[in-house]
């Protein structure tokens, strides 16, 4: 089969025109996972039988002339904190392996299946999503397909690596402080975190509800936009999910202009404490878009600090009972942080939440004059598996929290952000964030799609 299995829309088209069957696509996908995932460790569960049965249903629909959906026959996989009917939701934790199986699919999975996509499995992550590396004590490290001695990033590491390795064209992940964007950048794929509340989190194990988002990974803007369109819609089961009408973005992904879109580069905080390569990636994108204006997001360092406090407090509270009764079963990399988070005085948490409101209002003002802001996704490319520290400007710093340096101040106020993959000759990929005002995802998609058409040579894929 000569079909490109890394592109969702191409697969759906080929399945619908009966150039290939959905069963053949799923078989090829399962075979690829079996061959490559031994080394990469993206998957914690593969659901071969159910996937083949679902594929057969799609083929039958097509044979009968029925509409099998925009993603007909497209294989996908999800971070293992999404509920999959009949499977226990691990959320990266050993403790959760004892839980009963989920009785229904998460809303996002149900929506993708309704659009014809076929779920093939669940993907590795940091325990309870508390990390940026996916070096899971219980389920192993997910390796970066670009260099298997390096981390895939996290916490949605399995989701990013599975797409980067071509195991599946689409995956879902979650992002609280950067957990979609960081692994997307380190693996060299697109990772999209829409506006907070835009996509339903029903059936997703939460970490810090103030910041928890879900979103897709893919190899193209067109695939990202299509999945985003499919996933939108109000959902009573998630109190945070918006009732605003959905916005269709896939038609925007086929425009080849950025007329009227005001774009600027984030300076100050977003232009410091990073390796020169990360800043050079932003410059490349800016030059391709002919952008010369800069914009300052005020108090971004404080926003990151406040996000850190809120996450630590909410995460610890969520797992407090288990921290009391069985701390020995936590991943050592998360346990001490959760325990420390349980000791945070309420005043600190409330102050951080109040600061969030102040900061949101300031950033809203910025978006009066600009539509899309460009910033680096991570300050460095993928570190080695097991690497704890690095030297930056002569100072030894912890690598893991540092990876969220540029993502955390943005998810803090729920801005929609797409990390686009930047290819570098003989070096690991990096990412650049395209950031917009809340609910302005379409502008991000338009700019990203335009960049894809430029054939600059620096975008992955």
């Amino acid at each position: 089969m000569s079909l490109n299995l890394t592109d969702a829309i191409s697969i759906a088209k080929a399945v619908k025109t009966r150039e290939v069957t959905a069963v053949e696509v799923v078989r090829a996908t399962l075979s690829r996972i079996q061959t490559r995932d031994v080394e990469l460790n993206c998957f914690t569960t593969v659901i071969a039988e159910a996937a083949l049965a679902d594929a057969e249903k799609i083929d039958n629909q097509i044979e009968k002339g029925e509409d099998a959906g925009i993603l007909a026959g497209v294989p996908f996989a999800v971070k293992n904190l999404f509920d999959i009917k009949g499977i226990t939701t691990l959320a990266g934790a050993l403790i959760n392996a004892e839980n009963p199986v989920a009785t229904q699919d998460a809303t996002a999975i149900a929506k993708l299946k309704q659009a014809g996509a076929i779920l093939v499995g669940a993907l590795n992550m940091d325990e309870y999503a508390y990390g940026f590396v996916t070096e899971n004590f219980h389920y192993g490290a997910t390796r970066n397909p670009n260099n298997i001695t390096c981390v895939a990033g996290g916490s949605s590491g399995g989701s990013a690596a599975a797409v980067a390795a071509g195991l599946v064209p689409i995956t879902l992940g979650s992002d609280t402080n950067g957990s979609i964007r960081v692994p997307a950048a380190l693996c060299g794929v697109y990772g999209f975190k829409p506006t907070y509340g835009r996509l339903s989190r029903a059936g997703v194990a939460l970490f810090s509800s103030s910041f928890d988002h879900i979103g897709p990974f893919a190899n193209s803007v067109r695939d990202i936009a299509t999945v985003f369109d499919v996933l939108q819609g109000a959902d009573d089961k998630d109190p945070v999910c918006t009732t605003r009408p959905p916005v269709e973005t896939r038609h925007v992904a086929s425009l080849d202009n950025i007329d009227g879109i005001r774009i600027a580069i984030a300076d100050d905080y977003f232009n410091q404490k990073a390796e020169p390569e990360a800043l050079a990636a932003v410059q490349k994108v800016a030059e391709a878009l002919n952008v010369k204006d800069y914009v300052t997001i005020p108090e971004a360092h404080r926003a990151r600090a406040a996000a850190f406090i809120i996450t630590a407090a909410e995460g610890a509270n969520l797992h407090l009972e288990k921290l009391r009764s069985r701390p020995q079963n936590f991943d050592p990399a998360t346990r001490d942080r959760f325990l420390a988070g349980a000791l945070i005085p309420s005043n600190w948490y409330i102050q951080a939440q109040r600061f969030r409101k102040w900061y949101r209002d300031k950033v809203r003002e910025i978006f009066q004059n600009v539509d899309v802001i460009i910033a680096p996704t991570t300050p460095i490319s993928a570190p080695l598996i097991g690497q704890q520290t690095m030297i930056l400007d002569g100072e030894e710093i912890l690598v893991r929290p540092y990876l969220g340096q540029f993502t955390q101040p943005l998810s803090f106020i729920g801005l929609p952000v797409l990390s686009i993959p930047i290819r570098r000759p003989n070096a690991l990929p990096l990412g650049v964030q395209l950031i917009a005002a809340p609910y302005n995802e379409a502008k991000i998609i338009q700019v990203a799609a335009y960049l894809e058409t430029l054939e600059t040579g620096f975008l992955c894929h």
Partner: protein, 61 residues
């Protein structure tokens, strides 16, 4: 050294208060992490917020 000692006392007492039993093997790690949280919190707490700024509400009765 003195500050470290006080931090240890705070962590141990606060853990008792919230009914967390800190095992000896975790104690140093928790103290280190709590010190890190304190340093980060300082950045938030030192910022003078206008009094009328409230946390954004999400609760709907």
């Amino acid at each position: 050294m003195e500050e470290r000692l006080e931090m240890r006392v705070f962590v141990e007492q606060m853990a008792l208060l919230v009914d967390l039993k800190l095992r000896d093997e975790y104690r140093d790690g928790v103290i280190t992490n709590f010190e890190r949280i304190c340093n980060v919190a300082r950045v938030v707490l030192e910022f003078e917020l206008p009094e009328d700024v409230e946390a954004a509400p999400v609760f709907e009765p």
